[in-house]
């Protein structure tokens, strides 16, 4: 905000220092981020577009794509509902143990994906708590789709909550309380007051959650059993093809995931940009008059 009144005369570096720093930073990003991204597409197209399309048009690849879509299609909505509920109770109320609850919500971020997969094997696997019971009733969780979904839900658990909690805390609950006092029901208040305020943060969280859900490797690898055409998600299919030295096919499937990453980054940038604009519009209001109605950016 202070950029408008900033005096550029004193507090900056000599032009050559600036140029040098920008050059080093960009070189680093080129080497570590841009080059790996470019390599995915180059390797995928190394034998031409024909070979690329052929590698993708294969039943195992299709079933991996389908399984990945199903997994994300279940995991993301589950974590979306959780994220909104958790953010509502953590951001809008004061209660004992709130800080601890917030820490627990973060826990899956710091657990290794391999450990995340292992815990479900210990519960539902053949040697696990429910293993014998599940075998008796002919229900398969580990080395089957439910295990993959569970592991994915675990690793993407905090994404949406993490995005919404600080956002809703910063916004406070004045607007919601006004709506309730004016006679809105809880659901109406959420739908018409809270949701418009958090929509960009929500989109941002959902898109990151989705990217991780579709791309998860370690946790899914432990519970999947790697049955081709049945329990292989796209990242696992990439691994199998790569280990079989089918480089073009591996990078072809990987390129789809890289495209997903690029789309994610674009949507994320747009959401961030829109959110910034709205925040700026709110910040420019005089402090005595907090916005009583949604501000149109």
């Amino acid at each position: 905000m202070s950029n408008l009144t900033e005096k550029r005369v004193v507090a900056t570096e000599a032009p050559w220092v600036r140029m040098a720093l920008i050059t080093v930073a960009l070189l680093f990003l080129l080497l570590f981020l841009a080059l790996p991204l470019a390599a995915v597409f180059t390797e995928a197209l190394r034998k031409g577009v024909g070979a690329y399309l052929e590698a993708l048009n294969e039943p195992d690849a299709w079933s991996a794509i389908r399984l990945t879509l199903i997994t994300a299609g279940i995991a993301v909505p589950l974590n979306l509902v959780f994220g909104v509920a958790a953010a509502w109770c953590i951001a809008k109320y004061e209660f004992r143990g709130k800080a601890f609850l917030t820490t627990l919500v973060d826990l899956p971020f710091s657990v290794s994906p391999v450990v995340a997969g292992l815990i479900y094997v210990l519960i539902f696997g053949a040697q696990g708590w429910f293993g014998p019971w599940l075998a008796e009733h002919d229900i398969k969780i580990i080395f089957a789709v439910p295990g993959i979904v569970l592991a994915t839900v675990f690793v993407t658990f905090p994404f949406i909550a993490r995005e919404l909690i600080p956002l809703m805390q910063a916004q406070g609950s004045d607007e919601e309380q006004a709506a309730i006092v004016l006679g809105a029901s809880g659901w109406q208040t959420f739908w018409h007051v809270t949701l418009p305020n958090i929509k960009w943060g929500l989109i941002y969280g959902v898109i990151l959650c989705n990217a991780r859900a579709m791309g998860e490797f370690g946790a899914v690898s432990v519970v999947s059993g790697h049955i081709r055409g049945q329990t292989n998600t796209m990242p696992l299919h990439v691994e199998i093809l790569y280990n079989e030295y089918q480089s073009v096919a591996a990078f072809a499937v990987a390129s789809l995931l890289a495209l997903l990453a690029l789309v994610t980054l674009v949507i994320k940038s747009v959401a961030e940009w829109k959110h910034e604009r709205e925040m700026r519009a709110v910040a420019e209001l005089p402090p005595e008059a907090p916005p009583s109605q949604p501000v149109k950016a």
Partner: protein, 294 residues
Amino acid sequence: MAGAAANMAAPMPTPAAPGRGGSKKVLPGFNLTLGYTVLYLSLIVLIPLSALVFKSFALTGPQFWEAISSPRVLASYRLTFGASFAAALVNVVFGLLVAWVLVRYSFPGKRIVDALVDLPFALPTAVAGISLTALLAGNGWIGQYLEPLGIKLAFNPNGVVIALIFIGLPFVVRTVQPVLEDTERELEEAAMSLGATRWQTFSRVIFPSIAPALLTGFAMAFARAIGEYGSVIFIAGNMPMVSEITPLIIIGKLEQYDYAGATAVAVFMLAISFVLLLVINALQVWQRRRLGAA
């Protein structure tokens, strides 16, 4: 959920009963959302994690100790923690540089560069793994120029560090960037008008204010790197005692049906993640206090 659905179906807004206990209690939904949060958290995270801890009780103390301290496992700790530390250190230096350049300077394509920083969050780790390997292997884009010089970056611990740098970079940039945006330029101007050089201003005025954020970023990158699996296993070469990371030890034990051994190592990893999580939380509290005091 049923209550919420009923409210949505209601044609007329039903006036809410005025809160009895002051304005804080007016908002409805506390019991519902807290209950759901705790239930879902327990089912997905807490009960499964406690299963891990309970399973490890099946081992006697010496068995547990042997599982987590055999030479091969110890070698994997050395690699995992060493490489994670090195990568997080590199990320602190370059992450600060990238954040600085993005906040303080303008250059063409800045928006795209800013968006690209999040690539490691969005790109599946397996994709990062095979693509870094393709670049750095002896016949790769970069590897072919380095190998004649005797520099090998793939299929050894160097590759592990490089994969972990890729994974951890956004953590540092994204924790430092907002703090750097909020630093008060007036302080810098004051320092300089009092005769400080630009470097003195940076090291004595700017750096202390972003140090907590840098440490937080370091801890987050380190914590993420310790558990990382997908990007590392393709480039590491996975030689026992040399380039085998701890998560791979767990997978190896599982594949040999050594569930007890896998559980023991996993419990050890889980304990470390938990400690790191507490450290990160403490760092964030410190950072907020710093900012609040400023």
